[in-house]
Symmetry: C2
Subunit: 337 residues, 2 copies
């Protein structure tokens, strides 16, 4: 039985792709929760591309992770001990509790999870992943029935949900992903109208033009770089370009050129807009109801890619950047409750 | 007395800055208007940065000017002969009648101008220039009282109106312009809060940061290139970046890097959006009422830079790109009526 809190801390700021030596694995005693605090055993840790940005010493929507601090990360787990009136031992909770097996949290840091939803799903389609897709697509992208929605990183956790919501909304959906298996999954299992294998096309622009034969009305971008720049060439009048992430750029060690085709925004009276899911906190309920219905009705499929053991988290994180994962990447830190 | 229609046609597509040899000056007989047509004598021709784009063989919001065609351009003039029931000889009209002293136009191509407004003003603050500033700033930029508005190309025809509308709307206004005289004009005559002389700063970013000490809420961009990229570093949460033009890039002969800092849109949940003034045609009346009031009340100042003679138009056009003009650039083609 585990009697310590295993933690992974940020040991040094990565240059380019993170290395194992940028992380430090430490065992710490499990502390007792103070007044109004809760002791949580983390069961799953979500690995997300945005984590790479948090490791840099750069102003962003969240402060950088300080050197020596536990790596930031969203987890789900169970309450072991509660001194807070809103939580009881055995409750399932979610919070940004970090890369560690145990955490002390205040009530404000925790969200109670419905016991009927599998813990992993609360990190995936019915969690931040699904919420990011929902608000990014519907609030920023604002797709209308019959419009063409192009998604990059389409086989990723967020991208795959974006495409499926767009289908529910009656759009023609085209995904960009790497490799024939991912593309097969998008078309055959998720119902995308077209999938572009960017690793096996000689001319991404021609592929986009062919797949989006009526042009792009909404482009949901998870990757940045040349994919964004190329997609801009094919946007329609009044198109919406949703900036969700830029995974192709996060490990760059040299300046990445910006989207030279941004003047398409002028010619097409279009907009490019970013968002952060946290801003929609007050509307999570509405989104979870939508996503829950889609899940129950078989309109929302997902894949999980579960790695076992906190010590494997650093290596697993890298799989987000080499394209070798499909769907939601999770680390299992301990047994399901 | 001029008995011919002097025209300037596009002789060849420019590479980089246009040269005199890209234009051809031709005399043609003045034709008689057909049924429902109108013969107009053009008095002023507006010179605009966008013309450079029209000379390229590239898809845009208007088709390219065909080789051998009269150069496209907005003019104001007087009706000489009318076979159309809505127009009479002596009426003052505006239309995209091109770089020529006389034109045959249909009724749909002409807008009747109010006789009490000086013709030149109908091409400036009470014309497309003012309308572009009005809709770009208010509809896309949506400035709120107390916000900071940064304008590039601020001493230009559009930029100078943008800044003054922003002042009317109660904003803190910062302009970027080239040279101390333009900056003096912005601050002393137009009431800008700050003016940044980009030609005399060693660090544009530091200058923007200092002048916009509470960050940028609206950035109205007329220039593109490194100025846009730098400004993106200082945008506030939910900022609006209005793409009106990119004069620094229009004559580029090599690919211009895009705005590498576009991810500020994500971090700041901000948007970058383009527009074309023609889309607001149905609301020109509202805008002209606003601009007319501002003009009468002394809240809207403007400069005109009038070049005499159609033959001087090509050389004058180049002055838009070397920074040597201030305010609205016009070519006078004939005597005021």
């Amino acid at each position: 039985m585990e009697v310590e809190n295993l933690q992974i801390r940020l040991a040094s700021r990565p240059v380019g792709l993170p290395r194992e030596s940028d992380f430090e694995v430490i065992g710490r005693p499990i502390e007792d929760p103070g007044p109004d605090e809760v002791l949580v055993r983390n069961v799953y840790l979500s690995l997300d591309p945005a984590m790479r940005g948090w490791m840099d010493d750069r102003k962003s929507y969240l402060p950088p992770i300080a050197l020596g601090d536990v790596m930031r990360g969203l987890t789900v787990g169970e309450v072991l001990v509660s001194n807070h009136s809103d939580f009881s031992a055995g409750d399932r909770v979610q919070g940004v509790l970090g890369w560690q097996t145990h955490a002390i949290a205040t009530g404000a840091e925790l969200t109670l999870l419905p016991p009927e939803v599998p813990l992993r799903v609360s990190l995936g389609p019915l969690g931040m992943t699904g919420l990011t897709a929902y608000f990014g697509l519907l609030e920023i992208g604002k797709p209308k029935t019959g419009e063409t929605v192009l998604v990059s990183g389409a086989a990723g956790a967020v991208g795959s949900v974006v495409g499926q919501i767009a289908k529910i909304e009656g759009c023609r959906v085209v995904g960009i992903a790497g490799g024939p298996e991912k593309c097969r999954w998008l078309k055959e299992d998720l119902g995308f109208d077209e999938a572009i294998d960017y690793k096996n096309t000689e001319d991404l622009g021609a592929s986009i033009k062919a797949a989006c034969h009526q042009g792009i009305d909404v482009y949901f971008d998870n990757v940045g770089g040349p994919t964004l720049d190329t997609a801009l060439r094919y946007i329609n009048m009044a198109a919406r370009v949703v900036i969700c992430g830029a995974i192709s750029q996060y490990n760059a060690t040299e300046p990445v050129p910006g989207p030279a085709n941004y003047l398409a925004l002028l010619v097409q009276r279009a907009r490019m807009e970013g968002f952060i899911v946290f801003d929609y906190r007050e509307r999570y309920g509405e989104a979870l109801a939508y996503l829950g219905t889609a899940l129950r009705e078989g309109d929302l499929h997902y894949r999980e890619d579960v790695v076992s053991g906190l010590r494997n988290a650093p290596a697993a994180l890298l799989r987000l950047f080499d394209g070798s994962n499909t769907g939601k990447l999770l680390v299992q830190l301990g047994p399901e409750p």
